[in-house]
């Protein structure tokens, strides 16, 4: 098991290294490098000045050389300076990361609170009218474009009824938890729709699969009441794969968070990444993307390890 985790960790590091190089290279391909922007901003700069500046910042060197320079600085904790925010990129990122984790964490809780009871209910009474209705709702959750859902919620709750704020994080001048919570309602709802739909379908499938197993039949044949069969025997086993799927969905939830944050002007990491890419804030974009990658890789790693740990049928030691 230790060996398995170590192997997977090593794999994740390789992926991370490749990704950092890829992202670094891609950012270099975005329109206008920093010097071009300076040239545009300052008409006094001649092309010769620009070339001198590029040499000064090492921008004339080949890609892998620039990457290695950046990497050695980054490993020392220096991720560069944010052009737009006028602060070290890492300092800008920190508080945004916390905001995003709050949003995503709440959304995980909400979608699981919806998916677990409904998915299990659906699995225990399959192929009935309610099961079909639940399946329809779940598919609708998966299929709805997040940004459009946000628009519709903003229209209904903020524009038409005026009961919730359309965006932002708190009312200016008010600093209370209740006020902040109010601002979180719509973003969390928006972000939870897709994952609640996906989780519900997964919980249903997993529970149904478990209910078909021989040991469930045995438990029923012994005359155990159905309630006990479900609670004691079925759920435990049905929920093992759910743990994995929840961890694996981190990546798509982060994608959803980026849209949600942008729609609701929520000051999270996703919006930061989007703004920095659109605003040519290279260092910040780079750090943001790397952190997003690291978090996703960690979540996937956790999913694999959980799976290996929870499922006794899979042996990573080889045949005994």
């Amino acid at each position: 098991m230790k060996r398995y985790v170590a192997g997977r960790l090593l794999e994740s590091l390789v992926v991370l290294a490749l990704m950092s190089y890829l992202i670094y290279g891609l950012i270099g391909l975005m329109p206008g490098d920093p010097i071009d922007i300076m040239v545009q901003a300052d008409p006094d700069l001649t092309p010769a000045d620009a070339a001198r500046l590029k040499a000064l910042y090492g921008l004339d060197k080949p890609l892998h050389e620039r990457y290695l320079n950046w990497l050695s600085a980054a490993l020392g904790g220096d991720f560069g300076y944010s052009r737009v925010h006028n602060a070290p990129a890492l300092d800008v990122l920190g508080p945004r990361l916390v905001n995003t984790l709050v949003l995503m964490g709440l959304s995980f809780v909400v979608s699981l609170a919806i998916a677990l009871p409904i998915g299990i209910y659906s699995a225990l009474r399959p192929y009935g009218a309610r099961d079909y209705a639940i399946n329809f709702a779940a598919l609708a959750g998966i299929s709805v474009p997040v940004f459009w859902l946000a628009l519709m919620l903003i229209y209904l709750f903020a524009v038409a009824w005026g009961v919730l704020p359309a965006g932002g994080m708190q009312t200016i001048g008010v600093d209370s938890l209740a006020d902040k919570a109010l601002y979180l309602v719509l973003p969390v709802l928006t972000l939870s729709a897709a994952s609640a739909g996906g989780f519900t379908r997964f919980v249903r499938a997993s529970t149904m699969e478990t209910m078909r197993q021989d040991y469930i039949r045995t438990a029923r044949a012994k005359g155990l009441p159905e309630r006990r069969v479900v609670l004691k025997h079925a759920l435990r086993n049905a929920l093992i794969p759910v743990v994995t799927i929840v961890a694996l969905s981190f990546g798509s939830l982060f994608s959803g968070a980026l849209i949600t944050e942008t729609m609701f002007s929520y000051r999270g990491m996703g919006k930061l990444i989007y703004d920095s890419i659109m605003g040519n804030d290279y260092n910040l974009a780079l750090v943001g993307l790397l952190f997003a990658t690291v978090l996703t890789l960690l979540a996937n790693l956790a999913a694999d390890v959980c799976y290996a740990w929870l499922d006794p049928r899979i042996s990573y030691q080889g045949p005994a």
Partner: protein
């Protein structure tokens, strides 16, 4: 037996690495499926490999057909070494060595018609034109006792015995010299088995085929084989001409196998009982003679020394056994 053998294997080995999951996972162990096997197939005869399931006989047969690359040792076909053949030469060799498989359901692609299945080797080797191939399919179906009118049917419309005939027709399409038949009848009803075996014998006579027959069924072996080799844990433990082996089994394992065969006429089994215990885990075979944990005659030497495959004293030509106490009861 002075003619050169059609196929000869020397000190053949086939090992499989058992690996863990993931790119950086190491090798967990090695299964020695075939260990130091030497044998020679006489042209026009049937050589039978017999043993319990998991003894490595199928792996050996597939290695001889070059479906697996041997880990060590050499294979010669008609005097030429073929162990490391590749590309065009390997493809050319495949025309001479064909395989009949055990599972008459799994060995035919369910999406192909009989005509497509039987003519597949012809298409692979670009033999003949469309019309010539259709003619050849009719010929082959006729030869294996299937009505050519059924050529456009799909495998699932046939019985197990008929399907095996389709597999045989496919194996014969390229006029091979050697046919390797891996448990050709074990998946069939007993009533159909002898029909298919008789067909194989008729075809052998008609086309001068050499057979390597793999079977766990001693009755089938007795019916078909000219020479028999008994395998245990990847090794040949005894080999002899058929009559010799059945009359004077010299290895305790062969003796146990023969005792386990139900006698015709419903009589009692021979005294002495069958095999006790289970086949050891091939990942960690026992030291010394691989059979010693199950052997009624095992002594200290058996736990320490691997017996060589040597001539059985007092027995006929080419009768060899790998036992410290070889000799027939």
């Amino acid at each position: 037996m002075n003619a050169p053998p059609l196929l000869e294997a020397r000190n053949l080995q086939k090992h499989f690495a058992v690996k863990g999951a993931g790119l950086f996972a190491g090798r967990i162990g090695t299964v020695r499926a075939v260990e130091d096997v030497s044998l020679a197939l006489a042209a026009g005869k049937t050589f039978a490999l017999v043993g319990e399931s998991g003894c490595g006989k199928t792996t050996l047969a597939r290695t001889l057909a070059l479906l697996h690359r041997p880990s060590a040792g050499a294979i010669h076909f008609r005097g030429k070494e073929i162990t490391h053949l590749k590309g065009r030469q390997l493809k050319l060799l495949r025309r001479d060595i064909q395989v009949i498989f055990q599972d008459p359901y799994g060995s035919l692609d369910p999406r192909m018609t009989v005509a497509a299945i039987v003519s597949e080797p012809l298409r692979i080797h670009r033999v003949g034109d469309r019309r010539g191939r259709a003619e050849r399919v009719r010929e082959l179906m006729d030869a294996v006792g299937l009505s050519p009118a059924l050529a456009d049917r799909y495998p699932h419309e046939f019985s197990g015995g008929q399907r095996q005939r389709i597999g045989i027709a496919r194996a014969l399409a390229l006029n091979p010299k050697l046919v390797i038949a891996d448990e050709p009848v074990s998946a069939l009803d007993v009533s159909v088995q002898s029909q298919v075996l008789n067909l194989l014998q008729d075809l052998q006579e008609a086309f001068g085929l050499t057979y390597l027959l793999v079977s766990h069924d001693l009755a089938v072996v007795a019916h078909m084989a000219h020479r028999v080799a008994v395998m245990y844990l990847g090794r040949i433990v005894e080999t002899a001409p058929r009559d010799d082996l059945f009359a004077r089994p010299s290895h305790p394992y062969t003796q146990a196998l023969l005792r386990a065969v139900p006698r015709p006429g419903g009589g009692k089994r021979r005294p002495g009982g069958g095999l006790g215990g289970e086949v050891p885990n091939p990942l960690s075979p026992p030291a010394g003679c691989p059979f010693h944990p199950r052997c009624p005659r095992a002594e200290d030497i058996c736990r320490e020394q691997l017996p060589a495959l040597e001539a059985v004293p007092g027995s006929g030509d080419g009768h060899r056994a790998a036992c410290h106490f070889k000799g027939w009861e």
